[in-house]
Symmetry: D2
Subunit: 326 residues, 4 copies
């Protein structure tokens, strides 16, 4: 992910100069630095954050070190784009929110890149236009081909996958989640022993809208992310699997042919453009001294909802979420 962002900044983004990389893995970062024309390398990310020639930082480090690095960025007053999660629990997330607030300047953008995806942006604009009336329901689908992680646990579906749906629901509906219920179907045989996959999560918002979520991380087919919004006078769907090329194909064995196309293999392909637009918007806003994307508070609140979701995954009953006033 860090390498993706580095290449993106170096080759596809206007108005930014990539000046330094940091990674404890010297071999990996060295090869990348060479590919990118001999850019400076720091072994310690905190050294990079402290450098005079750094105006803004992208954090793609493990979530467990985010708090320390974010606080360093805030202390130095540099803009930072932090891949999700903001931090690993709501207490540390709150400390980041409060440090940023104490500093008096907006500096942190969280990497919920879907808010920059053209389809999501169009859906948001359509819902906000009021042309379809009030939005009553969202149906969100999130499928991954598989999860290679050997220690994968059910909670990681909530924390790493459902978290995107939670942020999207809050953003699309423009209101807070007040409860979450996680329902556990009998798992697919492709999940590791003991892992609940797929999961159904039901969110309720402050105004009473309901959001159903299917998260299925061993779906075998590919990366499918879809939203259907149901409003008073119409509905809208984004994320239909469509590669742009629609084919008819003969069956090599002489059987029935088929029509259709490939499914995106992973989030990199599906959200490539969203990442480019996210980073360009972050660079542009940082140069103006602003934050225009999801904030540290968005990261904090999504962590709060995920925490409640993990409780509901264990109990099966709805768990209330208390969101502090903004």
């Amino acid at each position: 992910m860090g390498a993706d962002h580095a290449r993106r900044l170096a080759t596809r983004i206007a108005g930014a100069s990539l000046t330094a990389l940091a990674d404890p893995d010297e071999g990996r970062v060295g090869a990348l630095a060479e590919e990118l024309d001999g850019i400076a390398v720091h072994a310690d990310p905190l050294d990079l954050i402290a450098s005079d020639d750094v105006d803004a930082v992208v954090l793609a480090s493990p979530g467990s070190v985010h708090e320390e690095q974010l606080l360093a960025c805030i202390e130095r007053g540099v803009h930072v784009l932090c891949e999700k999660p903001l931090t690993m629990d709501s207490e540390s997330s709150l400390r980041v929110v409060e440090a940023e607030r104490a500093g008096g300047r907006d500096l942190v953008q969280v990497g919920f890149m879907r808010r920059f995806d053209p389809e999501y942006v169009r859906l948001k604009a359509l819902l906000d236009s009021g042309r379809m009336g009030r939005t009553l329901l969202l149906h969100q689908t999130h499928r991954n081909k598989s999860v290679p992680h050997p220690d994968f646990r059910s909670e990681m579906i909530v924390r790493d996958s459902l978290v995107h749906e939670i942020d999207c629901a809050r953003w699309l509906l423009g209101e807070e989640i007040v409860s979450i219920q996680v329902i556990s179907p009998t798992p697919t045989s492709h999940a590791r022993e003991g892992v609940v996959d797929p999961q159904i999560a039901i969110l309720r918002t402050a105004s009473g809208a309901v959001v159903t979520n299917e998260v299925f991380v061993n779906a075998r087919t590919g990366y499918e992310v879809r939203v259907e919004a149901v409003a008073e006078r119409g509905s809208a769907i984004i994320g239909r699997p469509a590669s742009g090329v629609y084919t008819t194909t003969a069956d090599p064995g002489g059987g029935d042919g088929s029509w259709g196309g490939p499914i995106d293999p992973d989030y990199r392909v599906r959200f490539e453009r969203a990442y480019d637009l996210e980073v360009q918007a972050w660079v542009d806003a940082s140069r103006r001294g602003e934050v225009v994307g999801p904030t540290s508070r968005d990261g904090y609140v999504s962590t709060l909802v995920c925490t409640a979701g993990m409780q509901s995954l264990a109990s099966g009953v709805p768990v209330a979420v208390e969101t502090p006033g903004s």
Copy 2:
């Protein structure tokens, strides 16, 4: 509905002769009898059921008189296709099931016409083929344009609309529902005061599959019935709104044009072919002395699940369903 079936039998079905109509509304039934070339008319449906020249009966009468009419058919030993609901409550449905069983002959088919719809039949065949592995989830959507009924109540969404989804879930998955939870979003402003619309219903089956249902009877757009089945190695969707004619259309005001097509206005249009196939299959089976479609037991069990659903609509929590052995 009765007139539709009469015209269907008279003009589109092989192997049947329409010999008599019964309806307490003399003017209405008289006009229809004339249209259909002077067919016999009975004021009392029980007289029709008792007629010597009647081998088989279609009941499209109000649900409240179904029990009496069904028992009369069973007593005389004539085949009967009964529009849903079988009867108005599970006790009377059970009496019908037991009367039929006591008679020793299969005579009753319930009008769950979707089981004859070509798309549903193909989906069922695909799931049963095992090509996609075990089915883990169903997502069912059921939208009506509006409900004209002046006394419409929230429970009728469960009893008259959700009942179709319940039967489809049982049939597609080949197993029984063990619990139902009905979730109440804030209603659309197009629903009557006090009516919960849309509703989200969550079913769980004996094997642990989960079925999510959206039922929305004042959706304004049209009649949309859709199923997505999610299995271990793939998914399948039927009921995408598609009229067969895909158009591009200029905006009369000179604005952006649009692509797409019309949505079916109601179930008559959407399921026209399903009704024809249902009635043809019923006629063919009746002549062989068999019942090949949904049975009285299917009608009874769906009523049991609906009864639990109405309890959950009131309480918001999951309600268990006890299905008697077949």
Copy 3:
């Protein structure tokens, strides 16, 4: 084809009794007669046509014997549904038209079943409604998986496949074809040596509308029949390959999954409903003493256009068609 029609009449059509079959192949027709409950069999079709208990005849015999059989039907005054082609050349077709006219009664319907296909009917209604203005262009696509015929020749693409497109163009546009140009691309390697496949045919109508046709009978994928109508204020497409079931599928080898569905393997599957509706409409009209589908004149004119098309296939240049006044 004859067996399909016999089964259809016996099991899916209201208002008709199948009373007799005729086929020189005794074994084949005997088995079918047995399947259909011991129906009468004639070795000579002319004997069947002459039978007292026959009111209406379906001809699914080879085109080379159509003239004699049609003239016999006309002479006896029985209604006849004749599979295309009406006859093998325009001279004999004209003799049939004139014999029917001399008899003073409309008796012949030609088997252009697409005119009864629900999608075609909706497209025709849309074009006739005038909502999109005048129709300027049709783009027609006609693909078969393969042609098993060992003596297949390029002309047969015009006579047996393009003929359907010619009839559809005349019917959809409501006017006559005045010229035809057949263009010969380099053939697919799946065509027999010397066969021009695919072919592009350009029709021009009396009002100056242009119809482009792709006919490709060794397309390998399946049976794809599609029309796009382009009008002054919009366009409409029918025949998009869509089975009704839309699937996502995992790649067994672990590669990218795909979305889509199967393509109809042949015309029997694609036009099953059209055939049912065609035969039901023919039965209904015959009982009223009318012909409501494509007439002998439609069969004759399509043969005229095909004859010109075969000339253009040889020369590559447009060939004018003279259609006699109706």
Copy 4:
């Protein structure tokens, strides 16, 4: 177009600095220069081309001045991205090709931006992969909502619209066009008096592949650009009108609802991403001293084919094209 490119270079492209603008219209260029932070302005484009601080030039000037400006760029040895057409006739295009060749350095890229559109790139990759066998046919569709130009003439459809299809056909098939036939349907009533719109153009390539083209510039619906490639074992379509957001919409008058979405209003929306990718690729290649997109020879050959197309538009018969060896 020039302003679009200037804004793109200033805000969305990595590795380029926008240093100067030139436009004889002082007011227009002054406003744009101010928007872009006080960039230098030249009244005479030749002055800009001669500037020391200019390494590469984008020409979005009228086609009539392209020859002079291109020759100036070639003489100074600066890279140039020239919007189509290369020049107004094949003689002047040939002079540019020869001047570039004489200079010994590749410097000119022509603005056929579709070659950078992700859908076109995927289609090209699919055809080149050989997975579907040899490509036999292309069907290309090119519709504009309307042409505002008061002096619009039929030839401009060939020169300004069909030219894109010609370039795409050459590129997708990897071979030259050997003949072109333009067919003139009766025009839409929305075309100016005397303008032939739509037009059907048939191209034949050196290997015998056939390309059908519909160009319709007063289609009223929007900007629709579509290609269907038909190969020996499958077909592929790009450009289906799909905004990414699929909606169902209630009819405000209470009639049938509809499904679908908006059509792109113009090429700016449809090909926005293609333009970004084109300019980024041009900047990257120019910095390496290379040309990676369509060359001056591509511009010259497309002009040759268009010239033949304009002759065929007048005569209606196929016109041969002689393409010089590369």
